[in-house]
Amino acid sequence: MSFLDFITANWRELMMLTREHIVIVMLSTAFAVVLGMPLGVLLTRVRSLQVPVLGFANVMQTVPSLALFGLLIPIPFLGGIGARTAVIALALYALLPVIRNTVTGILGIDPKLREAADAMGMTNAEKLRIVELPLAAPVILTGIRVAVVISVGVATVAAAVGAGGLGTYIFRGLRQNDNNLLIAGAVASALLALLFDLALGQIERSFAIGERTQRTRRRIVGFGIVGVLAAAALIGGFAGSESSAGRASELPASGERIVVGSKDFTESIILAEILAQMLEAEGFSVGRQFELGGNLPHESLLAKAIDVYPEYTGTAFTAILKRDPITDPQAVYRETAGSYEREFGLVLSPPLGFANDFAILIRGDVARKQGLRTVSDAVPVSRDWQAGFGQDFMSRADGYPGFVRAYGFAFARQPREMDLSLTYRALAVGELDIIAGNSTDGLISALDLFQLEDDRRYFPPYEAVFVARQDKAELLRAAFERLRNTISTDEMRKMNFEVDGNKRQPRDVVAEWLREN
């Protein structure tokens, strides 16, 4: 599909994501201004507060955005998942430029003018309103402009906590190896940043001292651009009343509300969508909080932000319960179910029927030429191979360190640690020679990759299950029973490929599968 075709086909969704992006940025900036300007003014009055407050704002800016989102999730009222968390996190980022520029702007005013204001008998409030804020306005507006531009960028990461926005396209594009998605998301957010920058720059210039002659024209231009943005947001609002993946479904439903979460990769989204559509058919009101990054689904479950999400027994066992890997699937399921109930008050559904194991992948032509079939076959020829793994595989207990030891790999070069979805493409084009993917990934056949057999049975089994909160388990029981052992590895791989390879919507692929089963 050409980029233009893609844009035409997805215009509505793109507009809706843009609108979400704008709303998140505007809300967070508004918070930052409402909080930051008074704080900044306070700092000019009580100078001893400058070091602690600016220090705090400084530290907030250095916290990596994804980490900040993660930290906010368990916090009641402020956190959780969705746009609220994103707005708060972004507001925290935007705080520093607003506070700092308010302080700099006011303290930078010629002391003679402050003296003139005092000597005229202005009260503190009058001095602030009539003299200090107007004179500091250009500097404060610069701070706000910086805050907005930062926010537009950081807001793309907000998609990881289910806040929607243009980051949704970027994450999805990375995951699905889809350049159209990537470019659309990146270009749209870059354009947005430029537009905001331009508009606020115009307004800012109109506040410059003595720019009276140009003032009116610039205000008109500035407010014009702001108006266009607001209009875009509104139109997007009308066009996109369905709302994006990260948002609650607005289907009218009479039944009890269940929020389904998912991890941030295609298979998890498909499984979550299967459950969501089944629940909707049963008459529940279903909220969707899909595409949650890293450990967020589990955290969200504990924080009661979601009620259920798809998980893998091996992941739960090793990554969440932090146990040493074991290879018997039934034992893993049993142990995990028991521990989840005791430790978290969470319930495991019956196995869904397939396992998504780590798949050690090489290029198909390499496998055929060298006659490689198992992981052990590859060890002797792999010295000069460039390995590349997702962050997850590099860090987890059942991941890279144990794997290398179990098979006796001796890579000459340090493996690359990178985004999992990018490793597929890097392998296919020869940048990497060996990666660890997921066995159900549709890209394996699409990119002509070959899965080496785990002949030493190093990897623990990753049976797909749902994890649910205990108080919702009763409502979910029927759906869980219907899904028991119904999805085969082959079917899962096919559905994954429909989405990743054929670029179809998970919603449609799932609806099709549900009709057939």
Partner: protein, 246 residues
């Protein structure tokens, strides 16, 4: 000099900041209608003395009395609104037009806009700035002398009894300064205002002052009329006079 004719008096005033004595044992009276010039080199304490009058700073020891009441006993904001203040270059606000700057004290006092406009025009005319061509200009569109006139107009607009001026004409070139000084002398005379005028320029002091207070190292070392100053035998006074007689 009877108490009712006295508008400002300093009673054994000392001022100290961070342990450094800036003023020591200052006793001064300013009579209604006179122009008292505080003359001295930078750092002698003349500006400090001026700022004590409208309580921009507060005395460490002693008492400053304005209109019969200690400045510390009255509300600082109210006190300042009754006193006009002129800084070097006028201390004009760069984001406001000439008219907005001049009208500001009236706006603070809550006057209605119609009366503000009328009064501002009157003041602009008084200081020699034609309202039609100057009212809507910004400070950066004016010359130094014009800015200084605006500063005086702003200080006078609320019709205060007392004017404080901190080296107002120091940044002007010689010709402009002479013109503005003449004009200022005329206005003060016509309106019968009391003024305390800080300068380091003896010529200006002799021209404008009813009396001159010569300050040195935080003390008033001479107090008298320009005529008395001219014949003073004080070495510092002689040194000043020498610069003028060149």
């Amino acid at each position: 000099m009877s108490e009712s004719r006295t508008i400002v008096s300093f009673r054994d005033v000392a001022f100290e900041v961070a342990g450094v004595r800036i003023l020591e044992g200052v006793d001064l009276s300013v009579a209604r209608g006179e122009t008292l010039v505080l003359l001295g080199e930078s750092g002698c304490g003349k500006t400090t003395t001026l700022k004590l009058i409208n309580r921009l700073i507060e005395p460490t020891e002693g008492d400053v009395v304005v209109n019969g009441r200690s400045t510390l006993a009255v509300d600082a904001v109210g006190l300042r609104r009754g006193i006009g203040y002129v800084l070097q270059e006028g201390g004009l606000f760069p984001h406001m037009t000439a008219a907005e700057n001049v009208g500001l004290p009236l706006r603070l006092a809550g006057s209605d806009s119609g009366s503000i406009i009328a009064r501002v025009d009157e003041m602009l005319t008084l200081v020699g700035l034609e309202p039609d061509s100057f009212a809507n200009r910004f400070p950066h569109e004016l010359s130094g002398g014009q800015r200084q006139r605006l500063g005086v107009a702003r200080a006078l607009v609320a019709d205060p009894d007392l004017l404080l001026l901190d080296e107002p004409f120091g940044a002007l070139n010689a010709l402009t300064r002479a013109a503005v000084q003449q004009e200022f002398a005329r206005i003060v005379r016509e309106l019968g205002k009391t003024a305390v005028f800080v300068t380091h320029d003896l010529h200006e002091a002799m021209l404008l002052g009813s009396r001159i207070a010569l300050m040195d190292k935080g003390r008033v070392v001479f107090l008298g009329t320009p005529e008395e100053f001219a014949v003073s035998t004080l070495p510092l006074a002689r040194a000043y006079l020498a610069t003028v007689e060149l």
